[in-house]
């Protein structure tokens, strides 16, 4: 009576994937006041809104899994998120043969295929993580841009007020929101 041999092999497959994405905006300030005065107002408004200064004219906000950098030198706003993820999975293979060597050889061969399939599965998982990160980035960018819109609105409002003061005596300043939800600023000046 003949006897078959079974051999089971296991291997750990590791993949380190780097995921990252960037959303870039261009910042342009309408010059109500001279450019350096507008920039000074923007710096102040950014600091008030919770941006921290990181280097000369670079202001950073890290929230909601992403970092937004306002670069006043380049007049750009970049929201970025990145991560290195170590992914691990086990590949298993069983070989059968009429003797031990045959069973081991068969198991090794199958393990190679299993390893490759596992590596491909981990790469697919990496791509899925990339999509998740891009979604997180988009949500964070939307939130940060909403904040920046408020910051810019403050800068423009303050610029207009200063400009009005330069034009003459400010008699009345009315700030509010229109029925359609838009910010309204009315300044009456006597010259």
């Amino acid at each position: 009576m003949s006897q078959t041999y079974r051999c089971q092999l296991k291997a750990s497959v590791q993949e380190t994937v780097h995921i990252g994405d960037t959303i870039r905006h261009r910042l342009s300030l309408t010059e109500i006041l001279p450019a350096d005065e507008m920039a000074a107002l923007l710096r102040q408004a950014l600091a008030d809104a919770g941006f921290r200064q990181a280097g000369e004219d670079r202001w950073v906000l890290s929230e909601a899994g992403a970092e937004t950098v306002v670069d006043l030198g380049e007049m750009s706003v970049v929201t970025e998120a990145s991560a290195d993820k170590a992914l691990q999975a086990e590949a298993t293979a069983t070989g059968v043969g009429w003797n031990r060597d045959q069973a081991q050889a068969s198991a090794r061969q199958q393990l190679d295929s299993a390893r490759q399939a596992t590596a491909e599965r981990l790469q697919a998982e990496g791509r899925k993580l990339q999509v998740e990160l891009s979604d997180t980035l988009a949500a964070a960018d939307a939130a940060h841009m909403e904040l920046l819109h408020i910051v810019l609105q403050e800068v423009y409002a303050e610029s207009l007020k200063q400009k009005a003061r330069q034009m003459g005596d400010v008699v009345e300043v009315t700030e509010g929101t229109s029925p359609s939800g838009e910010y309204e600023l009315v300044i009456k000046v006597e010259t």
């Binding site: 994405d21 960037t22 959303i23 261009r26 819109h149």
Partner: protein, 378 residues
């Protein structure tokens, strides 16, 4: 003339006639050497010269269409004349000059159209399956010959790209043969480069711009021909745009090529003092902007799920392609701000050519679209 050349010439002249008339030519088989006086009889040259001249003139007329033309009065640079196309004044200076380059273009096109796989090689490859020593030797010989053929074809292709359009007629013939040459090239050696400036602008989405070649377009001998040539471009661009909208990679390439090619034309038209030559481009932009919403939705659907940084590269390329419109609008505003009495005929032609387009509206739309594509803040 050798037997081989005689045999080739019997087919070469009909091949050139077919190519120049826009018909499907028969496949060529024997390679002809360019710039070899022994390869061509005087009769063949005379037939080719006549065919090239007629084909180029017929093409110019077809591009403009049989309709009345508004032209700058040659005797008064402030007057615009409306003339029927058969009026000699409408033709302007349509003189075409041909050099030996036209013959070279046709010979190179013929050589490029030689089939990549000869029936001999195909037979040898079939025999190779039997693996007899003789069949294997024959197949090896044929493979070597095929490799040499491919290498010669590559050099012909490079030579075709290196031709500069010595005469304005050469430039037109180069454009007329580009389509069949490209068809043959694409089959044998992959996507082709268009080096002829007329072809680059007519099929802008597959061209990589060559500033030197584009500058050739604005040489003095080309200026009378350009309104004829450019008249049909907007419809050609429209057809191509429908194609690249379905493939975001092709769209990105088209945007990049458009920014360079249309931008170069706009700059050259300005420096040549010919704002009237901007009309086809204004039409092209308005057509693109009318479809912008549809184009954006089609492309956004394709790039959904990709990294934002990759998506942004596509949108930035589109924004770049829109940039030359600002210069066209500037030229339009400058023409408009001049009092009609003082207006040059070329300005009047720009204004009349764009009268139905509502250029200020579309220029504003382009600015809004650009800001939105770039994600501008502020």
């Amino acid at each position: 003339m050798s037997d081989v050349h005689q045999k080739a010439m019997r087919r070469f002249v009909p091949f050139c006639q077919a190519v120049l008339r826009g018909q499907q030519p028969a496949a060529s088989d024997v390679r002809l050497p360019p710039r070899d006086p022994n390869a061509m009889t005087a009769e063949a040259v005379a037939v080719l010269a006549d065919t090239a001249n007629k084909a180029a003139t017929r093409w110019l007329i077809r591009e403009l269409g049989w309709r009345a033309r508004d032209i700058a009065d040659p005797e008064d640079d402030e007057e615009v004349l409306r003339v029927p196309v058969w009026d000699p004044a409408a033709w302007g200076d349509l003189r075409l000059r041909f050099t030996a380059e036209t013959i070279d273009v046709l010979i190179l096109t013929w050589n490029i159209a030689i089939r990549a796989t000869s029936p001999k090689l195909a037979r040898a490859q079939r025999r190779h399956i039997n693996r007899t020593p003789q069949a294997e030797r024959a197949a090896a010989r044929e493979r070597l010959s095929a490799e040499q053929h491919a290498s010669r074809k590559a050099s012909d292709r490079a030579a075709l790209g290196g031709l500069v359009g010595a005469g304005n007629g050469d430039l037109i013939v180069g454009h007329l043969v580009a389509r069949p040459a490209i068809g043959a090239l694409n089959q044998s050696t992959g996507p082709a480069q268009l080096t002829n400036p007329l072809s680059q602008l007519a099929w802008y989405d597959i061209a990589s711009p060559d500033p030197v070649q584009l500058e050739r377009l604005f040489a003095a001998d080309m200026l009378p021909l350009l309104p004829w040539i450019a008249a049909s471009w907007p419809s050609s661009w429209r057809k191509r745009a429908r194609r690249w909208e379905r493939d975001w990679r092709a769209a990105a390439a088209a945007f990049t090529a458009q920014a360079a090619l249309w931008g170069a034309w706009v700059r050259l038209a300005q420096s040549a003092g010919r704002p009237d030559l901007l009309v086809p481009f204004a039409e092209g932009y308005v057509d693109q902007l009318r479809r912008a919403e549809h184009t954006r939705a089609a492309l956004a659907g394709q790039v959904q799920g990709m990294r934002h940084v990759e998506q942004q590269a596509l949108w930035d390329a589109w924004a770049g392609a829109l940039a030359p419109l600002a210069s066209i609008h500037q030229a339009w505003k400058a023409a408009r701000s001049t009092h009609p009495i003082d207006r040059l005929a070329t300005d009047t032609l720009l204004l009349s050519g764009t009268a139905d387009l509502d250029l200020p509206h579309w220029a504003a739309q382009a600015t809004t679209l650009t800001a939105s594509l770039r994600g501008d803040l502020g």
